[in-house]
Amino acid sequence: MTSDSKSMETSNLGTRKRTLSRGPILNNLILHFRPLTVPEKTLKFTLTWGLGGMATVLVMLLIGTGLLLKFVYQPFPDKAYDSILYLQNHVLFGHFIRNIHHWSANLLVIISFLHFLRVFFTGAFHPPRQFNWIIGLCLFFIVLAANFTGYLLPWDQLSYWGTTISTGTLEYIPGAGIWLKKMIRGGEDIGPGSLRIFFAVHTAILPIMLGMLMAFHFWRTRRSGGLVIPRSDGEEIPSQPHRVSTVPNLVLRELVVGLSLIAIIFLFSVFFNAPLGDPANPGLSPNPTKAPWYFMGFQEILLHFHPFIALFFIPLLMIIALLSVPYFKYPVNTAGVWFVSSKGRHMAMYAAGTALIVTPICILLDEYVLDFTGWLSGLPPVVSAGLIPLGIVLAGCFWFHLVLKRKFAPNKNEMVQMFFVLFLTAFILLTIIGIGFRGMGMKLTWPWVG
């Protein structure tokens, strides 16, 4: 694949001449990251939805605005909040810059998540792109970490308590948990040490890691011959796809997507301010205290399972499952085919529908009917509130998989996708419920009440 695209590049002299005539600066800069030509079919918007490009643009916006913010922000508990107020009220465009940074960061979580879904559902993790899936996952974790470390910096009630309960979860990691929590907090509680550490990690370590891994991510994409070439189920992977020159075909499209995105974010930032609550008060936890929204899925799981299960066991299983996605032995390479096959699409719909119905039922049951800790009070809570409910959920999933197996007789590709959709839908639903349907004291309410 690699040598293929290279030979195409060099043999296609006509294209090279045309691009060279666009001047050495443009040529050097753009073509340093890009091949001279790209397969024409990969330019189709509905293959990528421009998501990877959007994520890149957002990162650039974040670095730009972040550098500006660094000139005003002061990472000390008694000064941080005031420096944000100063930024918003006395610095020209200060509020605007903060809004852009805030909304871009939140959008980046969504966009990179969607990008991850796109890559999964087009089978873009099959060889030779296996390792790039891993890099992509690492990038997603870095994006989450960057968002999370940035969350503390305004030092308001929201950030102080959100960070307190999120880092509090580390305590449940067996063995090193307490040590790790103290290390990350820079002391017993969220305090000056935490702010110093979070600031350093947020403004230096994570951006550097992000930049390096992004370069690696792009390079791997290029080395595997560019993007997956879209095709329908049953079509062969084309070995000699028709190629067109990168400038202007790809670059122009990227510019359109990137500039539109920037315009939308700027407009949004004019009308919607980044939230800033009361200054942090360690003596008063607001009710309800919620983790940042991208952790709400875990917070919702935490309401139903013992912390050890919810905060250590389940995340560990999720990470292992996600990392091993490209390394299962698949019978078919479905790179470029949306949802594996029509059967795969069917099964995915079944899984999504089931998760949509069963997840709320389970939550309601656990909230109002089930009481494992009460019924099984003789057992340790890790078992009664953790392993037993988890076992029931997993047994339910296993039974569902048996039913689908009988109904569809699917291959492994389709089955893996089914499980992915099942858990994904459930997790997204849990996140939505955690964000919108939890009120005072984490009781279930409607989002429009109170």
Partner: protein
Amino acid sequence: MKKDKQKRTSEGESPHDPSKRSLLNKIWIGLGIFALIEFLALVIAFIRPGKMASRSDDSDTIIEAGPAKRFPHNSVTAFIRGKFYLCRMEDGGFLALSRKCTHLGCTVPWLEKEKRFSCPCHGSAFDIRGEVISPPAPRALDLYPVFIENNIVKVDTGKRMKRKGFEAKQLVYPKKV
């Protein structure tokens, strides 16, 4: 790679015995890993919160709560500076409870009407002895050591003690006058 190696040795570019060279390579790799571990340990030691950071802002961690008779039986008094509650039981025993929920570390307020601590974060509740009334909190509120000198109640906020549940021996009584 392998071919390369063979070629080189056959051409005599490397005069050394291959087995000796591989031993040297191993030593180099071993030294490299050792250096890496050393480096990591150094970084961790550098970042780790030292004794200065883990100590609270005030260097003296012992807080004088006041004369014992000032605290009525079956009452809870909050000490903002020491971040604890001083609870006095029905029978006159004292207990200093950490105000941090044992679930995820939110600050638990005392609800006088309901006679219980209630965590706003995930709805855990504790009674006056710090025992869990309703989960998800996994264990009772942490304790600080209480001691009574000359009928003055003092609390050492430097030593937070974890416990499974309430035991009678945790209570501290003033001397009968």
